[in-house]
């Protein structure tokens, strides 16, 4: 059976590896459609042929359940993201120090309205009481992906991004893992969709997400299992 998985962009890379492992174990094939969660959500409401939805937040899967597009009871938190602050190539100093001393001209974050990592970044800045100091230097990307681009192109010196991106990054970017206590946990929820035609395979995929194998792949990419605080 062939199923379609709608996956939030930030989880695309681990998902690819997880799917490869899943396909080796089962007879099913999975194709991944990635995009921003908001876009995927709109598409699902309009009848997109997705079997499962791996969101970057908790809000959209629960909205889908409420509107009846998701199958009740299928929602669960498949991963918890970790936030890091990354600095441009060549900045040898500790990003945390740079951040607190304000030694940068641009700080990139993801749009807090759209991306949970963005919201977490704002919470962190507020917790560090840096919010007022940095708000004039903020540049906002559509996603953490964009925030990352701002840094690697050298246009911003610091960015709040997902740990997963550092894991995969090219070049020597010093980074600082943001302590989870500084912000609300970034829970990413998945849900099984009504529109999906092969619910059996889809359920198996969701189950596989919670397997040891999947969790170790997630760990490689900097995701923590849900609930581990």
């Amino acid at each position: 059976q062939e199923i379609n998985a709608a996956v939030a962009s930030n989880f695309l890379l681990p998902m690819r590896d997880i799917v490869t492992a899943f396909e080796q174990q089962s007879q099913h094939r999975v194709s991944i459609a990635s995009g921003s969660s908001g876009k995927l959500y709109a598409q699902i409401i309009q009848g997109a042929p997705f079997d499962v939805f791996l969101s970057a937040d908790q809000e959209k899967p629960s909205a889908l359940l409420e509107s009846g597009h998701g199958i009740s009871g299928s929602r669960f938190t498949y991963a918890q993201g970790s936030l890091v602050v990354i600095a441009t190539n060549g900045l040898t100093d500790d990003p945390k120090a740079l951040l607190s001393r304000g030694e940068f001209s641009r700080l990139a974050i993801a749009n807090p309205r759209l991306a949970p990592y963005g919201a977490a970044a704002v919470e962190t800045l507020k917790a560090l009481t840096l919010w007022h100091a940095v708000s004039q230097k903020l540049v906002i990307g559509e996603s953490v992906g964009q925030a990352y681009h701002f840094v690697i192109s050298g246009n911003a010196q610091l960015a709040f991004i997902a740990r997963a991106q550092v894991q995969n990054s090219q070049g020597e970017h010093p980074y600082w893992p943001v302590p989870t206590k500084l912000h609300n946990p970034i829970y990413q929820d998945a849900v099984l969709l009504k529109k999906g035609s092969y619910q059996l395979a889809a359920k198996q995929l969701l189950a596989f997400l919670q397997s040891e194998q999947a969790l170790s792949i997630m760990d490689d990419y900097g995701y923590q299992p849900a609930g581990q605080q």
Partner: protein, 225 residues
């Protein structure tokens, strides 16, 4: 460095999409341009404005509204379902429709300008020689509007190759059906797979450059013949 199977699939799909869309754009755009050029209808200005309107919305937002319209509750969706075509979003057909709407102004405008530049005389001459309006259209208007049609083709084709906001929204990034090369490059960039993104982008740019350079040289040849 090479292409993955997914890249090749996307490349192929893109070319098919761009070719079909360009063809349909010309088939719709040419008569529309001619009508706009000839009519004395008072709504002419308004209709031109409506054709240009999709341009003012961000492609993703336009795609969002097209998605609503073509969805099961939208007017287009209800029409296509009633016609037994089914729903268009997330199908190749849907991509084609979306791309057409988005690129139509680039096609209608240059053709209309070229047709207006022809003036009355060649049409009058053709009529006195016994050519009916259809005959005149095919054998006088179209050949004389060639520079505009070529420009329209180039703009329509390249715009379809490159645009992905609309496509991403109504296509849903489904491999083999709606994942075109622009989406693929975007995915590579988002996945930080820059090498692959550069490679694909360079291929696109190079291929397009060759095609465009040939078209443009022919255009200049044509005009200065």
């Amino acid at each position: 460095m090479g292409f993955s199977a997914a890249d090749i699939e996307a490349l192929w799909l893109t070319l098919r999409l761009a070719a079909i869309v360009t063809l349909l754009l010309l088939m719709i755009g040419i008569p529309t341009a001619w009508w706009l050029c000839r009519t004395r209808c008072r709504w002419k200005g308004l209709i031109s404005a409506i054709i240009a309107l999709p341009l003012v919305l961000p492609p993703t937002v336009l795609g969002f509204y097209l998605l609503l319209a073509m969805g099961p509750n939208g007017p287009v969706g209800q029409l296509t379902e009633a016609l037994g075509i089914g729903l268009l979003p997330f199908t190749f057909g849907g991509l084609v429709l979306g791309s057409i709407i988005y690129s139509l102004p680039f096609v209608v405008q240059p053709i209309q300008n070229a047709m207006e530049a022809i003036g009355e005389r060649p049409l009058e001459v053709a009529a006195t020689l016994g050519a009916n309006p259809r005959d005149t259209f095919f054998n006088v208007v179209l050949p004389l509007a060639k520079p505009g049609i070529l420009t329209a083709t180039i703009l329509g084709f390249t715009h379809t190759l490159g645009e992905f906001g609309v496509v991403l929204m109504i296509g849903g990034n489904i491999p083999g059906a709606t994942r075109v090369i622009s989406v693929q490059i975007y995915d590579h960039v988002e996945a930080m797979d820059y090498a692959q993104a550069h490679w694909l982008a360079a291929t696109m740019v190079l291929f397009s450059f060759v095609v465009l350079a040939i078209l443009y040289s022919r255009k200049h040849l044509m005009i200065w013949k």
